[in-house]
Amino acid sequence: MSAEMNIARARMLLEGIPGVTLSGEGPILTVETPVDQFAVVGAMLKEKVGCLFFAFLTAIDHKEAGLEVVARLDNLDSRVCVMLRTKLGAGNTRCPSLFAIYRGANWMEREAFDMFGIVFDGHPDLRRMLLPEDWVGHPLLKSYAVDTPYPPYR
């Protein structure tokens, strides 16, 4: 099956879901979902579109507008790339976990929790990934002051 046909199929599947917007040209398809549909759309992409490869998951801080979670899912056989994005909304730090669908999401979600403080519902072991366990704050948030005192080494 060619890449164009796969993308057309993905569009057909995802257009029915309320709140999902599709954009992007060529082999990259951008899918924006509401937060509660995040895991549902992820599962759909894996089963129906064949995006078996979980490339990465990260987040963007839009300051007042809140956080945005971005995941990239690839179908390596037919070269379809999907950017799965969801806006958490102002003040919200909870997001459904993709761990049940993709095992590769485990450490990526831990890192997003470490750096942005996003709590993934359904994650089995949400601890800090890179920073020491007694670290205060989440450093990739725009509101984090770089010179936050961290005794005794700063």
Binding site: L131, P132, P139, Y144, V146, T148, Y150, Y153, R154
Partner: protein, 213 residues
């Protein structure tokens, strides 16, 4: 109408006004002297011999001999943190050959005299670095290699970097560069040998070499 070229005046840098430098100076006034480089017993025995008539000959000769022995067998603990460690390895290898200066990279801190801090020290790594330094027997020396270890370097304003390894351990020689070439590190090691040579003669530790980033 004549168009005048814009006059560009750059005020000369007043280094005393730099906040980082002030901070560093303050830190060096108050930095804790961890690790005693003198044994009090040894010092009292030396004082006793020194007070005898003609005893100073013995003490100065003994001092010279001990310093010669110390500076001719400085064993750095093989401890690399980042890309500076590559240059450090090159220095230890046959082309630059620090073994002719009596330096053997040793894999245990308990048998080493020198710690070359080669690379960025992150806040997560800092407790381990401190621990390795404390495991080394006295007298011990530390050499800070590269901009990152000197001051944090290009990562100074990151959230995870210690702004200079001298916030953790007392440093004897600073080697500038990013990374310093092996010649630079070799120069630093020779400066350290000079410091060790008049270690007991002055009765205290020599001043650290001026810090350049």
């Amino acid at each position: 109408m004549e168009i005048k070229p814009p006059k560009c005046t750059i005020p000369p840098a007043n280094w005393e006004e730099f906040k980082d430098l002030q901070e560093w100076k303050q830190l060096h006034k108050t930095r804790p002297e961890t690790g005693d480089k003198f044994s009090p017993l040894f010092e009292s025995v030396t004082e006793g011999i020194h007070s005898f008539p003609g005893g100073f000959v013995v003490t100065t000769v003994a001092d010279n001999f001990l310093n010669w022995a110390r500076k001719s067998a400085v064993w750095p603990v093989s401890f690399g943190l980042a890309c500076c460690a590559i240059e450090m390895m090159a220095t230890f290898a046959s082309r630059f050959d620090v073994e002719r200066l009596g330096m053997v990279p040793w894999a245990s801190p308990r048998h080493s005299d020198l710690m070359i801090v080669s690379g960025t020290v992150t806040i997560k790594m800092a407790p381990m670095l401190e621990r390795i330094y404390e495991q080394m027997p006295d007298p011990k020396w530390a050499l800070s290699m590269g901009s990152c270890a000197n001051s944090g370097g290009p990562f100074r304003h990151g959230y995870h970097v210690v702004k200079g390894v001298d916030r953790i351990i007392p440093v004897d020689v600073y080697v500038p560069g990013c990374p310093p070439p092996p010649e630079s590190l070799l120069n630093g090691l020779l400066l350290l040998q000079e410091q060790i040579a008049h270690f007991h003669k002055t009765g205290r530790k020599a001043e650290p070499t001026p810090k350049v980033d």
